[in-house]
Structure formats: C-alpha cells, structure tokens
C-alpha cells in the first residue's frame, strides 16, 4: 500500500530523515517507534506532505505521491491524525468532525460515518455542541481520531495517541484503534509507549537518528534483546518496571 524509498527530509537546512525505507501492506496496524527527536513525526509529515522531500520517493497504491500537496494526498486516502492538542478549540466537536469530511461529496455516507464515530466514542456525541477547547485531553484525542475517520481514509496515521493520557484512557483509545483497523483501514501509529504499541500492532519499525534501525513482526520485537538494548534503553525499562511493581 505505502512504499517509502530512501526518503531524506527535514526543515530548512536541517536534515532529520537520512534515508528511510518502509513498506506497509494492506490492512493491519504498523507501529513506528522511537524516542524524542529521532524523526518519527518528521516521517509522518513527509508522508502526509506537510514537508517536502529532499530526496527519495513515496508511493501509495502504486501512485508516486512524492510531489503531491497534502490536500491531494488526503483525497487519495492518506490521512494524518495530528497530536491531540491540535483540534480547533473554537469550533464545536461536531464542526471538527464535519471538517474531517471536508473532501467528501457523499452526504449520506458522511452522515452514517458521523454516527459511526459517535458509536465509537459516545462521549463525543454527548459533547457534540461543545467547543472542543473545553474537552479533556482524552476526549480531544478521541476527537482528532474521529475527525481522521471522517475523511474515509485508506490509511490512517496517528501521531502519539497515548501522549500525556491516563492509562485507562489509553486502553480505551487503543481498543478503538483496533476496531478501526478491523473495519479495513490500514493504520500507522507512531508511539513512545513501546510496550503498548507492540501489543497493538502486528509489525513494527524502530527509527533512530533518522534511519530505520530495526523492523519486524511485533511479537518478535517485544522479545528481541537488541530492541530493548538499542531503543528501550535498559534504564528506562527498569524504571517502568519499578513503577509497575509499586
């Protein structure tokens, strides 16, 4: 479905991605893992078109999209869900969701999808007239995911859906990501919450310093000592274990 070939990209003169290769096939959940400043978000922006490629090529369903504008990529079915803080606070929940379906002309199906989003996230239905600036962190995260669903994506890219959320809320959101994937949408989820992401996903990529360091089946990555070594970092893993024991 998505082919990323030797992609170099960054901001101005600062090159962050230094030759990323990735191949995502139809269906299922793929996760992209990495610490802060390793290029995760940059890669998402390169795929959605918010930043231009310096070198390399991206194809989607066999079409070269490297030079398409972001809104043209949305029309092809690549939809990026931004981080939770980036809803439109001065718009109501429903306006945000309607905005998500901006490219669509099929009114009836759009309406049905709106209901589907409300079924996935009942709290959004309760708050649909409320300004999205008044929602809690978890609710805003549900809103931006719902907004992404409204675009009728073939591939949905999520940027750290678990960031700064309580574990219970993260579980609910991850369960819904799973439901979206089951409905036939391919999902690429960027995460820092490694363990959760690898349980959720079937396949994983680990990015570091702008290149893909390790890739593989998620079940294997969890057990792979080099993943722990290179990315989880002994100390971080120990700390999280320590926290869990308390």
């Amino acid at each position: 479905m998505l082919q990323v070939n030797d992609v170099h990209a960054g901001y101005g003169n600062l090159k962050i991605l230094r030759g990323v290769d990735m191949s995502i096939s139809d269906g299922g959940i793929v996760t992209l893992l990495g610490g802060n400043g390793t290029g995760k978000s940059t890669l998402l922006k390169a795929i959605s078109g918010l930043i231009p490629l310096m070198k390399g090529q991206i194809t989607f369903d066999g079409v070269d999209i490297s030079n398409l504008k972001p809104h043209e990529r949305v029309r092809l079915g690549i939809v990026q869900v931004t981080q939770a803080k980036e809803a439109y606070p001065a718009m109501s929940v429903e306006e945000n969701l309607v905005l998500g379906a901006y490219t669509r002309k099929d009114r009836e199906a759009t309406k049905a999808d709106l209901e589907r989003v409300y079924d996935f996230f009942p709290v959004l239905r309760e708050r649909r007239k409320q300004m999205s600036g008044t929602l809690s962190g978890g609710e805003v995260q549900m809103l931006v995911i719902g907004r992404g669903m409204m675009a009728k994506p073939k591939m949905l890219m999520l940027d750290e859906p678990s960031a700064a959320l309580a574990p219970k809320v993260v579980l609910e959101i991850f369960a819904n990501i799973n439901r979206i994937a089951k409905s036939g949408v391919t999902i690429l989820v960027v995460e820092q919450n490694v363990r959760m992401a690898l349980i959720l996903a079937q396949y994983g990529y680990i990015i570091r310093d702008g290149i893909i360091l390790i890739e593989g089946i998620a079940d294997k990555l969890i057990k792979d000592p080099s993943v722990k070594e290179s990315f989880l970092g002994g100390s971080v893993a120990d700390v999280s274990r320590g926290l869990n024991n308390k």
Binding site: Y11, G12, S48, G49, L50, I51, P52, K69, P70, H71, V74, R75, V79, Q80, T82, E86, Y88, P89, A90, M91, E95, V98, L99, G100, Y102, T103, R147, A151
Partner: protein
C-alpha cells in the same frame, strides 16, 4: 451654546453610519490578519480602487448603484487576489505552507500601497471626483426632533448590515466558511483535513478586498472619490481593528462604530478641524485600559 439633545443624537446616528463603514474595512484587515498572519498595509488602496471602480461603473457605464456596488466588489476582489498571488505569496511561502512573513511582508505592503496610489493617479488623475448616485428610491429617514438622515447614509447602514450578516453566515454555516476558519486557526491541520489551503487564502484575500471595495462605494456618495482617500481610511480602520481587538471580527465592527461615533462627537463638541485625531485618541485611551483591545484575546503566539 447649550446642549441640544437632538443634535447630539444626530451626531451619534451619523457617527454610527460612518463607523460601520470603518468597521467593514477593519473587518477585511482582521480577516487577512487572522487568516494569513499578515498586516495588510495596502488595504486602504483596495478601498480607494473599489470606490473608483464603483464610480466608473455607476457614472460612466451607467449601471444602477447596487449593481455598481456588486461589480466594484467583484473587480476589486480579483485585483486583490492577483496582488496576493503574484506578490505577497512569494514572500510568505516557505516549505509549501503559509508562515509568518515578518518584516519583508510589511515593507511589501507599504510598497504595494504606494504603487497602487500611483497607478490610480495614472488612470484617474489627482482630482476629486463627485460620485453621483441616484438614490431617490431610498427613503430619507425622519427621526423625531427634526433629525433627517440622507439616503446615502440609510443605504450605507442597510448594506453594511447585509454584508456583516452575509459574512457571518458564510463563516459560520457554509463549508468554505468552515475551511476559512480552519485555515485561520492552523494551516497545517487544515491541509491535513484535505483543504486546499492556497485556494482558501486567495478566497480570504478576495473577500477582504471586496469588503473594502463595498466601503469605498458606500462612502463615495457621501464624500468625493479621490486617489489619496485610502491612507486615512486605512489608519481609521486600523484604529477600529485595534480598538476592537486585532483579529476579532465582531471587534472590528464594534471598534469601527466606536471610532465613528467618537470622531463625530469630537468634531462637534471639541474642534471640527481636528476631526481625524479623535480616532487615535480613542485608540490610545482603549489601549491604556485594555492593551489587547476590547474583544482581543491574548496575543497570537506562533510556534
């Protein structure tokens, strides 16, 4: 001279009427600012061009006044969109999106202002031209106490209200309006919603310039139309926008009305020869009390 309630009310009525016109221009400036993050210094010239287009269409071509108004709005919108597309966009473009442009954009706006004034001199000459509009079908408004409001003022009030309601409806209830608001808030996310951001930016600019043109055609029959009229309008519309809170659309209208009323009362009771000072006096007073303007939120901070 004792205080005369009737003439006081008359000054307020005239102040409000002229004030909504300031408000309409301020609305355009605010729209461009919130949508494109640029302060458009050539907006007064859009107003001036609009007035001339209206004059040409009404007096030379002989179209009825309302048709000339709409025509002037459309032509000015096209001029504005071309100016934005050809000149401003090169300065504001960085990495495919619209970003804060800074100093270059301000200088470019000033340059555009000077250039447009000179183009106007070249086409229409330096003389002030009277705008003869046939407004006989508009009733004069008779208020109790011998206050009579001329047709052009009545018309101005009506059309201004229509324009404001139209803009409100467009932004609040239509799909392109929703997209405009999305672009105004955050261009990257608007892109990710599948919105054609460059197109929306053209649209914002066109609407803002059309509003300025409407103001020009409305002012025309009250005053005369001349090349230098844009500068003072720009200053007052800025005052109105800042008084109301820069970037706030209701604020622009309220600010405009306040400037209009304040100016008329100042001219009536303090000194008529310093009419143009009062707008700025009001500006200073409001900023002393509330630096963000009446309806302003805290300064827009860009990452």
């Amino acid at each position: 001279m004792g205080f005369d309630l009737n003439s006081f009310l008359a000054f307020i009525i005239f102040g409000v009427t002229i004030g909504v016109v300031y408000g309409i221009v301020a609305l355009g400036i605010s729209l461009i600012y919130s949508g494109l993050d640029i302060v458009h210094f050539a907006h007064g010239e859009m107003y001036m061009f609009g007035a001339f287009f209206g004059l040409v269409l009404a007096d030379n071509v002989g179209l009825p006044y309302p048709v000339a108004l709409v025509g002037a709005m459309i032509i000015t919108a096209i001029v504005g969109m071309s100016v934005e597309r050809v000149f401003y966009r090169r300065l504001t473009r960085a990495g495919g999106g619209y970003t804060v442009a800074g100093m270059g954009m301000i200088i470019c706006g000033f340059g555009m202002s000077v250039a447009m004034v000179n183009v106007a001199y070249f086409i229409w000459g330096a003389e002030a031209e009277p705008f003869r509009a046939n407004l006989d079908y508009i009733p004069r408004l008779q208020f109790p106490g011998d206050i009579e409001v001329p047709e052009s003022y009545v018309l101005t009030a009506i059309i201004s209200v229509i324009l404001m309601i139209g803009l409100h409806y467009f932004l609040r209830y239509t799909k392109p309006g929703l997209a405009v608001r999305a672009v105004a808030h955050n261009k990257d996310i608007a892109y990710l919603m599948g919105i054609n951001v460059p197109l929306m930016i053209s649209l914002i600019f066109g609407v803002a310039c059309a509003l300025a043109a409407a103001a020009g055609v409305l002012i025309g029959p009250m005053q005369s139309v001349q090349v230098e009229m844009g500068y003072l309008m720009l200053m007052k519309a800025f005052a109105a926008a800042v008084v109301g809170g820069f970037g706030s659309l209701p604020g622009a209208i309220i600010g405009g009305i306040m400037v209009g009323v304040f100016e008329n009362l100042g001219a009536a009771y303090i000194s008529a020869s310093h009419k143009d000072i009062y707008a700025f006096l009001l500006l200073i007073l409001v900023l002393m009390v509330k630096p963000s303007g009446l309806f302003g939120v805290e300064a827009k901070v860009k990452a």
